[in-house]
Symmetry: C2
Subunit: 230 residues, 2 copies
């Protein structure tokens, strides 16, 4: 009641007050050896914007972020990680929560056994093949977890068959919504300030017009608020 009264005074609706949110953002870096790693292209802009938008609506937000160069959003707790396994551990440690939004571009694979010392180039010898191992699927783990949040939302970065791949991902991961976007280099979405997503839910899908990543974040935060109060 007090919170509502203050909200009324301030004129800012805080529909997510008292709700806990987990957001992942950025890429993961998977070490090959002390100086080399495999990375995903991800600026963290969309994930950080979503964390900020949820916090503005009153949610208590834990942002689990891979290596990014953008500033921490205001009003959220940031947990910094590097590898996918670290990201999974940090997300599970943040449960229980009311909503989880998995925006990070998690590497599907890590190097099976990262070298402790720098792998030397041997002149004239073929380079060593990189043996890869599958990384934990964080979205799927959360989507099927005993302490599954009421709302689980994932992102799908695709370069082809965006809708079909997104819908298949929704089912497989146990997610409520997938925001699918086309990250082909020609779109300029990766690293850019704007985004164009397709929201895929169990009841159907809708195309959102191209807008700033901040606007995508605000629209998604409003949807989350509506779903959690329903």
């Amino acid at each position: 009641e007090i919170v509502s009264a203050i909200e009324g005074l301030l004129g800012e609706p805080r529909p997510l007050a008292g709700k806990k949110a987990i957001v992942t953002s950025g890429p993961t870096h998977e070490p090959i050896d002390p100086v080399r790693y495999i990375a995903n292209r991800s600026s963290g802009k969309q994930g950080h914007a979503i964390a900020a938008a949820l916090a503005r609506l009153g949610a208590e937000v834990t942002l689990v972020s891979g290596p990014v160069t953008i500033p921490d959003p205001a009003g959220v707790s940031v947990v910094r990680v590097e590898r996918a396994e670290e990201m999974r551990d940090a997300v599970l440690a943040a449960l229980p929560a009311d909503v989880a939004v998995m925006v990070a571009a998690v590497a599907d694979w890590r190097v099976a056994s990262a070298a402790g010392n720098k792998i030397k180039k041997r002149p004239g010898e073929a380079p060593p093949p990189l043996q890869l191992a599958e990384n934990p699927d964080i979205l799927k783990t959360v989507g099927h977890h005993g302490a599954r949040p009421k709302l689980v939302i994932g992102f799908a970065a695709e370069t082809e068959n965006v809708a079909d791949n997104g819908r298949a991902k929704l089912e497989r991961k146990g997610a409520d919504y997938i925001l699918a976007n086309d990250v082909s280099p020609a779109t300029g979405i990766m690293g850019g300030d704007r985004n164009r997503v397709k929201l895929i839910g169990r009841e159907g899908s809708e195309d959102w017009p191209e807008m700033d990543k901040d606007e995508v974040a605000a629209k998604l935060a409003a949807l989350i608020a509506a779903k959690l109060s329903a």
Copy 2:
């Protein structure tokens, strides 16, 4: 004569006035597919500092930089590249020059055939092995080039046998000097503001004390000025 007169007036010695320098800096990113890449850890701080220090001594500097998040140094021409092959092309295009300082952490290997579309994870299937191909050796190419600069200087990022590996590199690459440093994670050099290097030349080697990367840059620029005027 006019330049010397102005120098006298300003009180700033510009011993590299009229000299051309090429500096490489930062990592290279080698694409696996549109969203994934192999990278080296390199902030670009040391390379950018060297480019700035050479410019302060009057050199006309071309800085060929991989993807970094630090600002361009004042007074240098910056050529931005992503892959090792692009870096080699940009360096060769900047020849002839009086000195080349190769600081970039160039990926030794690239992915043999980068995929045009995002490689999909197939649940239950083993990840595809990554076939690697050797990247061009930019330092060696410049060290043996018909238009070889009078002074060719390379960096060696090592995690073991720093001196031996550095000396072997000097011979193999046709360089005049190698600055070898120990980039083991425990040293904090990678990404940090300080550096501790061993200067390896044909006549012997000397250990420089730990100092700021700016100070390493100034000391190296002074050495270059002395050698080029000798």
